[in-house]
Symmetry: C2
């Protein structure tokens, strides 16, 4: 933290940075719960839970606006520099990404409503088998990313970026399985399209977890690693000048 | 602009804000060209042009990093407040959205390569009829959004937000037509899926144009309108305290 000012002001500033982090973590926990509930709604065909997920997205939008306001206030009143400034910018981006991850869970909620709601579509739960594993991985990545935010832990952040590669592979494997299913019985096209939406949404949740992790690296190391390949994120690379 | 400091410093700060805007506009023009080229590649089945679109995405990523650095430098060295601070934050978000719009054009490039590249897929150009109209609308929205950025023109920005509603309707109409096509002949499933990707990517370009417009409104009016319905964006609403 910025140590150029007197102790009293620095303390208050630290408290403000802390409350920004708290907001991000609170928002993150809500989004995590949304992913878990959306996955459970899909697993159990629970349209009531799916509606709750869709409805709760408003709370996350409220936190998004609150987060952006808090960042702006911090920038305007505290005028941070160096690592404090990077931290505020990283948290602003983290808020943005959490909101977008939540949007993906809302999409999952809509799929559950369409597939298991009152209509003429006979659900085929076996199509969502890959989704189950992907949801578990997405939850884990997001948990780890939030831990990386909480502890500003670069090693954990790097592990998230690298872990997302596996989720991406699972996504493509899932798509291939769905295509096979479709070739065998093209009449199931609507079901397959819904399953594609599900896999895509979960893959995007992983992407947003990765973005969170990248912002942690940026905040701590001052390096913009968004366009660096995951396998190059060794600590040697991050510590090079 | 911030008028609290002496004339000399203010002038230099204005110049820096101006160069940030120039970077956003330069990036915007590149993205606009990417949308146009991707649409043309699709229209003409031109895989060479499609490859160029994919390749040029790197230049846009470079501008993304440059833009974020410039924002950070401005925040750190100039410590702007009020409308200047909002302007910098809005431009930071604009850069982020332009990069994401460019990512969509890259996806279009990949579709063209898959559909018209060397493989066993016999292209069905009629499937891309809706894409032509949607591409024209997306280009127009992005042009108008960039004009709104250039002139910090709230009315133009509001028109973009409202115009995007029509693009969203065109997207859903296009999806319905593709579904009909699929029901008539399920063997074309791969073509239809590619066409869905195309419509989705164009719809997303419109969303990013809308985001740019929303950041203009935010920079000028200080109001976060991301969660306000388009029809409520009358100037009366925006001028209310």
């Amino acid at each position: 933290m910025n140590g150029k000012e007197g102790g009293h002001i620095v303390q208050r500033f630290d408290a403000q940075l802390g409350s920004l982090k708290d907001l991000v973590l609170e928002m993150g926990r809500l989004v995590l719960q949304q992913v878990r509930d959306a996955a459970q709604a899909l697993e159990e065909g629970d349209t009531g839970l799916a509606r709750q997920v869709v409805h709760r997205d408003r709370d996350i939008n409220t936190l998004d606006m609150k987060g952006q306001e808090l960042c702006l206030e911090l920038l305007a009143t505290r005028q941070p520099v160096a690592s404090d400034l990077r931290f505020v910018m990283a948290m602003s981006q983290a808020v943005n990404n959490l909101e977008r991850a939540a949007d993906e869970t809302k999409k999952l909620g809509y799929v559950v409503s369409r597939v298991y709601g009152e209509n003429d579509l006979q659900p085929i739960p076996s199509l969502f088998q890959d989704a189950r594993h992907m949801a578990a991985s997405a939850v884990e990545l997001l948990e780890d990313a939030l831990e990386a935010v909480e502890e500003l832990d670069v090693d954990k952040a790097v592990a998230v970026v690298q872990g997302d590669e596996q989720l991406n592979e699972a996504f493509h494997a899932g798509l291939r399985r769905l295509a096979t299913f479709l070739f065998e019985d093209p009449r199931n096209v609507r079901h397959v399209i819904e399953a594609v939406f599900v896999l895509k949404a979960l893959e995007r949740v992983g992407d947003h977890a990765t973005n969170l992790a990248e912002f942690v690296i940026y905040a701590v190391k001052g390096k913009d690693v968004r366009y660096v390949k995951a396998e190059h994120l060794s600590s040697g690379f991050l510590d090079a000048g």
